[in-house]
Symmetry: C2
Subunit: 319 residues, 2 copies
DNA sequence: GTGAAAGCGCTAACAA
DNA sequence: TTGTTAGCGCTTTCAC
């Protein structure tokens, strides 16, 4: 009956009708089917957030921020994991055509032309939390990695550390590439040469440990501890690295200072608490969600590219 | 056209028809609408996992396990967060009647009669990863907290620690209540009296620090450090506590041994690495997912109640 | 093996 | 203001 639908959607009806419907709904425990509804009205009132790895605490921060904005606007947020492969990301974006949600926030680890194409062709609005080329013409919210690296390097410099090594994640990823570029620039701008650079296999804790090990095998030929500071591309790598340092009897920050990136919950949980570059993951999440909502309202707006500026959260891992 | 549907669903068709459809699909980029499909067939091929707090690493482990089982069975997993309030959990369960998914795995932090009722009345099968009364008649997979506590206490005892304190989470939660009971039993079974017990406001890192602080204010009246070991109700509390210990100049494990629970990724990431009771979160996730799939196949089966046995992961936070 | 047609549960347009 | 009806996009009879 159409009157039920009207009452439930708050459209005009007699007081008596409203009451009659409410009683029936109560009695039968009736709940409208969202699939049928969305099939009819063309909207699901659900939004999807896709992240590469739920184990990475930076996504926790982002997720919370997105959830907040989105639920305040009356949407349900569903989170899915893509894994590290770009093909799975593409599959997910393509899959949005099945009508799972009204929009998508995706934070892709790797980007290729297929992914960009799938985003451009996507049935529903997509906002990228990360860096895609401007020519892609999609809404993006990204961090300023170079600026973040500058904060890290200059902080270390101010603390008298000049022999700086760098533990990056895979450079074929979006953040990996950005960090590599940013680190090189920041070092150059300060007239420094990196003591060593290693590339971890991914952005996880165990990869950080392994990268630490590799770092030392590279340095073994050098003078008595050729480094006094390490910058890691994210907090998980930084913490893995600190474990490797400890295993070698080195004290953070006395022997080696460590700076992470993301300023995730892990940074304050680690010991010593980790000085970390806050790349604004909460704000990026918030802005991405807002962009998505705006895009859903008006699909003709010109794509926006928002850059969130970093800050440095100084903790005990640097002197 | 019905033939398209047949081809796409692998029903018998001429080779020519198959090819014709495939070409058209390719050309138009056609993707079937899952809402319309599920409206017709009555299944969404989606499953929901609801957790209280995405920031708790124990859920990461569980999520991964559920995801693996579920996707192998051809289902899509969507994750939603409920928050700590039981009313939101109830709302989520009730909301499943809207047809979001074919089943639900929920790991409730707090359980009341409303929640049990909503689960019993739920339109789709629900598996509880946690403890609900047997009379509820629902599939459950739960940990054996008492046994886990026994492992923790006996391990400490074997290491010569007898002055044991306990940092629990809120006792009005399912895990909080189970831990409290388990701790009391385990201590009693070994003829020990707890040195002190505190109840954190929730199961988070900052709550662990505060609880540590409270612990010391309780102990100040006692002999020179009245305790030599602390058991925490989960890893986040344990890590928070360790920070508080460090802030007071105490060394783990030399001065105070610490045992956590959950054996999450955080346990190995923390420093020193945390000895932790593995309550089988991965296995619980796996079993819960399997139970859900089985229940979807056959809704007449008697409810099963699976208990996963704990093990102890010994690391450096105990001597 | 294929096309036509009904219908899943809802809402928007129309008529009363 | 309310009831009737069509149709969202799909699958599944049912004839052919």
């Amino acid at each position: 009956m159409a009157s039920v639908s009207r009452v439930l959607n708050g459209l005009p009806a007699t007081e008596e009708m409203v009451e009659r419907v409410q009683r029936a709904v109560e009695q039968l425990g009736y709940v409208p089917d969202s699939r049928a509804r969305s099939l009819k009205v063309g909207r699901t009132f659900q939004l999807t957030l896709a992240v590469a790895d739920v184990g990475n605490p930076v996504y926790v921060t982002m997720m919370r921020a997105v959830e907040e904005v989105v639920s305040a606007a009356g949407y349900r947020l569903v989170v899915t994991t893509t894994g590290p492969d770009v093909v799975d990301e593409v599959a997910l974006v393509r899959g949005m055509a099945r009508g799972y949600a009204d929009g998508l926030v995706i934070s892709p680890l790797r980007v290729d032309d297929d992914l960009i194409k799938s985003i451009q062709e996507c049935e529903v609005p997509v906002v990228v939390a990360g860096n895609v080329p401007a020519r892609a013409g999609v809404d993006t919210v990204r961090a300023n990695s170079p600026k973040g690296m500058l904060l890290a390097v200059e902080h270390l410099l101010a603390k008298g550390r000049r022999r700086i090594a760098f533990v990056n994640g895979p450079v074929d990823t979006v953040p990996g590439a950005a960090r590599a570029k940013g680190f090189a620039e920041a070092m150059k701008a300060n007239g420094l040469q990196p003591v060593a650079e290693v590339e971890a296999v991914d952005f996880t804790f165990p990869a950080g440990r392994e990268a630490g090990d590799e770092l030392f095998s590279k340095l073994d030929n050098r003078a008595p501890l050729g480094l006094d500071a390490v910058i890691a591309a994210n907090d998980l790598l930084a913490v893995g690295l600190m474990h490797e340092l400890a295993a070698r009897g080195l004290v953070v920050p006395d022997d080696v200072a460590v700076v992470g990136m993301d300023d995730s919950e892990l940074a304050e949980q680690s010991f010593p608490p980790l000085t970390s570059v806050n790349l604004g993951s909460a704000e990026r999440g918030r802005r991405a969600a807002e962009l998505l909502l705006a895009r859903i309202e008006d699909d003709t707006r010109a794509p926006r590219r928002i850059v969130v500026q970093p800050t440095l959260s100084v903790r005990k891992s640097t002197p």
